[in-house]
């Protein structure tokens, strides 16, 4: 933090000379703060305000928490909301149980500096840069019983019974979509874990090797404890990303998140509530209320991270 004290002394010298109002600071900051405030912060706040209003005789009127009561209490809204929330939790858990451990495994393997690591890294990250829309349709084709790619793959392995319309069955649609999302997004935890692993000083590895430690011991005793902060960050990123997801489900299953809402998550519910769909017309006030619930869920997750995880982290460091 040497530069902070440096800038402190130089600026206090500036203050003593009683400079005029520092216009240049305002000029530097204004564009970013203005765009960010007008296009991001203000809409989020106005959206929250809108969720406390409702149509009354052609104009918006303040109704307090009535929209949220309707959302949580009425049959029309509560059932889809709980369904979407439950599905979203499943979506998130599959990411936490598959994406992050497999991402960690790949990162650990890459950290052992096998020959060709850079090539592997590039290949493994490729799905992450593709559009979710493209991914969704590509997998829809691959899992499509008509094309039969999965049949051609599974039959030689004697796994014909696995040739099912995975995206079309209510029980399997959500796990299948979660795994497609895992497949696409695994590059991000992989790179973040790898970055943390590469920062571990070589001396620790050398010492371990002198003690005759194998790969597993090195992972358990050196790598895992040292990358725990990254595990926390990756979990938070997964959480925020998952409870805000929309594109994959929309592009593979449509706005109705079929079959029979089996893959409906908060993002698709938000879209339908706001814009409407076949049977129901769109409602900006209720849409804003769904966004309010999403914001509450995300803030709750961030709070859990800050309180529980950060405290645990300091205990680990002590």
């Amino acid at each position: 933090m040497a530069h902070t004290s440096l800038s402190a002394t130089s600026s206090s010298a500036r203050v003593k000379r009683r400079r005029p109002f520092p216009w240049h600071i305002a000029v530097f900051l204004a564009p970013a703060v203005l765009i960010y405030t007008v296009v991001m912060i203000y809409p989020i706040l106005s959206s929250l305000w809108l969720s406390l209003n409702n149509q009354s005789g052609g104009r918006a009127a303040f109704v307090g928490l009535a929209n949220y009561q309707k959302l949580l209490g009425s049959e029309l809204y509560a059932q889809p909301l709980w369904n979407a929330l439950r599905n979203n939790v499943v979506f998130f858990l599959i990411h936490m149980l598959v994406q992050n451990p497999v991402g960690l495994l790949l990162a650990v393997l890459l950290s052992f500096r096998l020959r060709g690591s850079a090539v592997y890294r590039t290949l493994l990250f490729t799905p992450t840069v593709l559009s979710v829309v493209i991914i969704g349709f590509a997998w829809k084709l691959i899992l499509n019983p008509v094309w039969g790619v999965q049949r051609a793959l599974l039959t030689p392995l004697g796994l014909e019974h696995l040739d099912q319309p995975w995206l079309g069955l209510p029980n399997t649609a959500l796990p299948t979509l979660s795994l497609i999302s895992v497949w696409q997004n695994i590059g991000i935890p992989m790179l973040l874990f790898l970055a943390a692993l590469v920062r571990i000083p070589d001396e620790l590895y050398e010492a371990a090797r002198l003690d005759g430690a194998g790969g597993w011991t090195i992972f358990r005793r050196i790598q895992l404890p040292l990358i725990l902060p990254t595990v926390g960050i990756v979990s938070v990123l997964t959480f925020v990303g998952n409870f805000n997801a929309f594109d994959l489900i929309y592009s593979t299953q449509g706005a109705l998140a079929g079959p029979n809402f089996a893959s409906d998550i908060l993002g698709t519910l938000f879209y339908r509530t706001f814009f409407g769909y076949q049977l129901q017309s769109g409602d900006p006030y209720m849409g804003a209320a769904v966004a309010g619930v999403m914001l509450a869920v995300i803030l709750a997750g961030l709070l859990v991270y800050l309180v529980a995880w950060q405290r645990r982290m300091t205990e680990v460091q002590l």
């Binding site: 703060v33 912060i41 959206s47 500096r113 590039t122 979710v132 999403m294 995300i298």
Partner: protein
């Protein structure tokens, strides 16, 4: 890196490691390759031999012809390009200015503004969609590319300011003080700093670019008109419409995949160093 010289693993573990990495590399790339390869085959072979490469008898450009005759793909492509480049330019310009101010000067609101701008890293802009749509309707920007550019700029600012501020702090003070003594204005000094943080600018470009290019949500809501569709929205609509014309669908998918993969290969170094904070060179 001293890669091959320091094997941390014994031979069997290394072989096992390679096997896992090769298996996952195939898993990661095969679906995409399958799409691209089959887009060049006739319909019969797509179904009878999905894994075969096209040969003299099965090669066809039918899908691409359907695409050329029925969709506005070049326009969609241009829209995506304009939106992505416009947003990236604004993100880099306004974020580097803000980052310069935050790292260079001490003023009363410094810490508070830094915190205010970083809220957006964790709170997704999508939650303000209802408000954003109302705002854009009010500004008469719905169905213009400006609506998308403004939203993506706002979305990109928090992380860009965060990354650039930490890099700007690393620029030696002597240099800037010397310029001040020579009578350079603060704006000139900002201009002198920019080339010094080029790696950080590259990293911010690479991280911001992909979500902007790939986004479906905001084009769907703010600019669904035929003349403002982005390639992702255009492809999505097209795929819904031509879902049974496999040649056309595979060709559309290929056209949407290839530009991003090319960009990724060009920018992959910056992308990796951007995500990993420069840890992997």
């Amino acid at each position: 890196m001293t890669s091959a010289g320091v094997p941390l693993l014994n031979r069997p573990s290394r072989v096992l490691g390679h096997l896992v990495l090769i298996f996952y590399s195939l898993l990661a790339t095969l679906p995409t390759l399958l799409i691209i390869v089959n887009s060049f085959k006739d319909r019969l072979t797509i179904f009878s031999h999905p894994f075969a490469l096209p040969n003299g008898g099965t090669f066809t450009l039918d899908g691409y012809r359907t695409l050329a005759s029925s969709a506005n793909f070049p326009l969609f492509f241009l829209n995506s390009l304009l939106v992505t480049l416009g947003s990236l330019f604004l993100i880099l310009l306004v974020s580097s200015m803000a980052a310069f101010a935050l790292s260079e000067y001490r003023f009363r609101l410094n810490t508070l503004l830094g915190l205010y701008l970083s809220v957006g890293i964790m709170v997704p802009i999508r939650l303000g969609t209802v408000g954003i749509l109302n705002l854009m309707v009010g500004l008469h920007l719905v169905n213009t590319l400006w609506a998308l550019i403004l939203v993506y700029t706002a979305q990109g600012i928090p992380l860009a300011v965060f990354v650039l501020t930490s890099f700007m702090r690393g620029v030696p003070r002597d240099l800037k003080e010397a310029a001040r003594i020579d009578g350079a204005s603060e704006y000139r000094i900002y201009g002198l700093t920019l080339p010094l943080i080029r790696p950080a600018l590259g990293a911010v470009t690479a991280i911001s670019m992909i979500p902007i290019w790939n986004d479906l949500w905001f084009p769907l809501i703010l600019a669904p008109g035929e003349s403002t569709k982005t390639i992702v929205l255009g492809a999505s609509a097209f795929l819904g419409q031509f879902v049974n014309d496999y040649n056309a669908v595979l060709a559309a998918l290929t056209l949407a995949i290839v530009p991003v993969v090319v960009l990724y290969i060009i920018f992959s170094r910056q992308l990796v160093s951007g995500i990993t904070g420069g840890a992997l060179k």
